[in-house]
Symmetry: C2
């Protein structure tokens, strides 16, 4: 099976938004073993859209469109895509009821143009959108399957995961099964180097690395008659990767470092808290992004000023004067102070220079100390980087979670 992706929206062609939808759809299809040979971004212009859709339909078995389902004036695209296959839009009363119910629930008056979203191609299967108002749909025409998804990335991603992937899986005879290993502490090229032979040989299962922000995810995918058979093919490959990368692999079960920490803390009924300077609440933000975090995270302090470090965290003024604000002892005192003041077992303390300006001490931009207090002693990592402010902050927060998950699993904390 081969697919093309068509992303609809003039905002893409104006460069106002990055096309994450194309990436998300491509990745989901790749995981199902469906080849994507090209994707196209096109505006809301009916003529050009028709041309793109009809040409793609000549080449591919599956077309996935994103965008153009919303209630705005220029959204003729749904009509255009349906029309390219000789189909009309018809009103779907159950969608209309859902749209009305959505606005009732959020307590906002619905403008009439929202009802346009209930118009979908005749004889389609509706893909219910639980994350927004515009439903998606699937229809077939002349041997081509067409799937239309909403454009907002959050909605598109959820629809892919909960609607499209299950739908496509249910229609396939072969099972594609993957396992994911999350790696922190080695870059993408390092991982590729370490696993070179394994990756070069791999065909089924395949081993593919994905660079994520500051970490690497390895995907091991096998195609087989059923999941058990695929799993039996994957297992020895995973074992080999584990032997090579060891404790750099932090999870195979969860998506992120913070989710891994959350689950480990929950299973031990333990808590942590944070004292952040240069990361400005990023560690707190990341853990509280997760439902259930209130059981393991007692709170955090963003202490930008020396006054805040002293008053809220009890970092001694003379320690700051002697060692400097950006120093290992201050990071440790912050970590301990957070745990004590916020009543948690573990405390994380971060102090550093994320730039672009320094603090006048002559210490280099990119120097960050990340400390972890485990209730009895503290560990500190000293980080150096010449990346951007954003990357420095992200990296520091990754290290904080990595140290925490290592303490929680009895591994060496300072590398």
């Amino acid at each position: 099976m081969n697919a093309e992706i068509i992303c609809i929206g003039t905002e893409l062609l104006l460069g106002n938004i990055v096309n994450t939808d194309a990436t998300d759809v491509a990745q989901a299809l790749s995981e199902l073993g469906i080849s994507v040979y090209r994707y196209t971004a096109v505006g809301d212009n009916p003529e050009r859209l028709t041309e793109v859709v009809q040409a793609a339909a000549q080449r591919a078995d599956l077309l996935i469109t994103t965008g153009g389902l919303g209630p705005t004036l220029d959204d003729l695209s749904k009509e255009t895509v349906a029309g390219a296959f000789g189909k009309k839009l018809v009103r779907h009363p159950e969608c209309e009821a859902e749209i009305r119910a959505y606005f009732d629930k959020i307590g906002t008056v619905m403008t009439p143009n929202n009802l346009q979203q209930a118009m979908l191609p005749e004889s389609c299967t509706v893909l219910h959108n639980a994350w927004g108002t515009a439903p998606g749909c699937v229809f077939e025409s002349g041997g081509v399957m067409v799937i239309m998804l909403p454009g907002p990335p959050r909605e598109c991603r959820a629809m892919l995961k909960h609607r499209v992937v299950p739908y496509l899986k249910s229609r396939s005879k072969q099972t594609i099964h993957s396992r994911y290993l999350h790696v922190f502490g080695m870059g993408e090229s390092g991982v590729e180097y370490a696993l070179h032979d394994l990756m070069a040989q791999s065909s089924n299962p395949t081993v593919a690395p994905y660079a994520k922000e500051g970490e690497v995810m390895l995907r091991v995918t096998a195609a087989a008659a059923d999941e058990d058979a695929a799993e039996a093919m994957i297992e020895p490959v995973v074992a080999q990767i584990r032997q090579t990368l060891g404790d750099l692999i932090y999870t195979e079960t969860y998506d992120t470092l913070e989710q891994t920490c959350l689950e480990l803390l929950k299973s031990r009924a333990e808590t942590f808290s944070t004292a952040e300077s240069c990361t400005g609440g990023l560690v707190a933000k990341r853990i509280t992004d997760l439902p259930g975090s209130s059981a393991v995270f007692t709170g955090g302090v963003v202490a930008y000023t020396e006054q805040a470090k002293q008053n809220l965290l009890g970092v001694p003024a003379e320690l700051i004067a002697r060692e400097g604000v950006v120093s290992a002892p201050v990071a440790e005192a912050m970590a301990r102070g957070a745990a004590q003041r916020l009543g948690s077992k573990y405390g994380i303390g971060i102090t550093g220079l994320a730039g672009p300006d320094g603090d006048g001490s002559g210490k280099p931009i990119g120097l960050v100390y990340v400390a972890l207090w485990d209730g009895q002693e503290s560990f500190v990592r000293e980080l150096h980087s010449n990346a951007t402010r954003e990357r420095i902050r992200l990296s520091a927060s990754n290290h904080a979670f990595d140290m925490l998950r290592r303490v929680l699993t009895g591994q060496r904390v300072v590398l």
Copy 2:
């Protein structure tokens, strides 16, 4: 002039990387008034690439390709693109010298495949790459201008700004000028409804709305002989939009609510601090994402537990007992407590239920109180939502910044 962008790389089609090159090229062209009618991502396959390039050359005056200039073995794409226009690659000795010099400078031994990068289409203009090793180029063939750029986003962006834009400007007679209005407090469909007539009539200037996370940006763009003439065409349209949307427009100068607050606070030499419960540090994270935030943000507390609210913010236990943790009085006490404990003029306090679980009080998920203390009195907004945890948190943080910018500009704070 109309353009097409062709992004070359199998990694795009596997969903391994987000296509920021397409966005960057599209944006640069849009700002020059060059229409982009479509962009295509295609793999390193010579047949399909030739097909894509030749079809695009039929439709567009300008083709910009990204990717495929590097030294890797499978990079046949430069040869393929040149070949699609009947051109051969020839060795450019000055490029070869630059590549050798680059490796000398970074002190790395050059592998021979790097010299492939000095092979460029015959009779092209070389675009010198000061940010990497692969030079770009421009050539013309049959009335079509072809510009080839390197794929790594940092190099592509720099080449666009310092090579492509100056080159295209030097060849153009018309100026395109835009102004951007940022709106908070009304959704995209509401804004379109309010501006329906204006948008339906608009051709030059055009008025286009862009939905951003929780807010809307309006772009007003005119094409004219020079910037003054364009500005004269835009001004009455902006005035009309301002009359309709009033103080829902929060900036025309900056990109975001938090940047607007940062600049307003800086110009008044004032500070704020935060006390966050359900937003878990998101307000602190957003302000500290910005360079220069340490001048206006003294710090924040993420107070998930009652203990933290009492100990770090001085919220009275009896107030929590009487009103409940999620209540307007507690939000106000948190805002005041943050300002007092963290030594700032303004304080933001946020308490609410972001879900998915409630707090046992029977109060609904999505109920959030956002309070702003201005040094003398406090204002509270009560929010309701049935969106996801992520959206509830984002919306609450947007409201916090909106309240702050309204206090700072003397507008009504509670709507």
